[in-house]
Symmetry: C2
Subunit: 215 residues, 2 copies
């Protein structure tokens, strides 16, 4: 994957900082040193400083970080100060789970529509959003300002659906289908391949067992 | 995170190789060169060779890789030649989605039990597995050989439940709760923080928009 400027590895760590800072903020904590943040998050203080230096630092040496300021700045970097409308394609259990997750709303991700090719699901309501037929997808995209499409469908139809989404102005796909999508430059894709994650867990179980056998 | 030997980044790429090789195998393809695999997977041939060299190579120079052999070997490295029994804690939409996912079974992950603290869900059946009360969890773990617990509960109870799981012999947790678990050494945890993934997508949308504005 090509990257400009800041690496995706650093970007991948920002949501975790954001989560911890949000919790500190909720607990009423106003300042935190990189050392204390390091102990809390179990990463080195030097990594924290290096990560933050990518964005100009944030900190005042010796005074630690202002929690709320840092939380808001990282939120802005993550684009959470903008509102993102999203739709879900695939109204199965996973699609419903994501549609029902109200925390997305708190972060500015607004659930606008849900589509499924199964006629039995048509009309079903998830948090006030009715499941629509896939035939309505293009018209809906033309009439609504949708940034993100969540793909929770089997891999068989995913590539074709992704093409249709992109043709109709969707600029980002959160892909849970177990296939790599081939989208034009400028279209953002974030893959959540659940099986891959489970296999990684399985590898780590095996490795640990082998280590124990060798002791 | 501490790693022994092979880095988690390399391990993280193995499931994707496994997926592509499985598809090639299903298409009846017997051999593939690292160059062709590279084009298919959109990674460099040198990365493929480097990754495979961590496990002793696999390939015959000039003849390419034997697809089925490579598929089986990577499967073994991933521990997919062993059977893993798993339970799901949290029978909401996400838990149900994972319980219903039959592909896990094909990979040797066997769905054995499901637990929820909501009495209204008790007795509900997901693929022949009845949802049990959390009160039955410890007894169930003592009487069954469970490797993996999937945590699909809100973050509030997750740390406490994880402790109980570990005390009763669970050696791996697939954690969807939006909190970092603090488990003893030797217990494997794989986190799927869905909000983090969505924020990364949001970052990439913002970055792309800013790039476009600056052109």
């Amino acid at each position: 994957m090509e990257e400009k400027g800041i690496s995706q590895v650093v970007i991948g760590r920002l949501p975790r900082y954001f989560r911890y800072l949000g919790e500190l903020k909720d607990e009423g904590i106003e300042r935190i040193s990189s050392q204390d943040l390091s102990e809390l998050m179990k990463v080195t203080a030097s990594q924290i400083r290096q990560d933050f230096n990518n964005f100009g630092g944030f900190g005042q040496q010796g005074y630690g970080y202002n929690v709320e300021y840092l939380y808001n700045e990282i939120g802005k970097i993550l684009g959470l100060d903008r509102r993102h409308n999203f739709i879900i394609i695939g109204a199965g259990n996973l699609g419903q789970a994501l549609g029902n997750y109200i925390n997305f709303e708190r972060r500015g991700f607004i659930f606008k529509g849900m589509f499924d090719c199964n006629p039995q699901l048509a009309g079903k309501e998830i948090r006030g959003v009715k499941v629509m037929s896939m035939e309505n997808l293009e018209l809906f995209l033309r009439e609504n300002d949708i940034d993100i499409a969540v793909l929770t469908i089997p891999k068989a139809g995913a590539v074709e659906v992704a093409e249709k989404l992109v043709q109709n102005g969707v600029r980002a796909i959160w892909n849970f289908a177990h296939v790599d999508l081939n989208v034009p430059k400028g279209i953002q894709v974030e893959n959540v391949h659940l099986s891959d994650s489970l296999m990684k867990l399985s590898y780590n179980i095996s490795r640990y067992m082998k280590e124990q056998e060798n002791i």
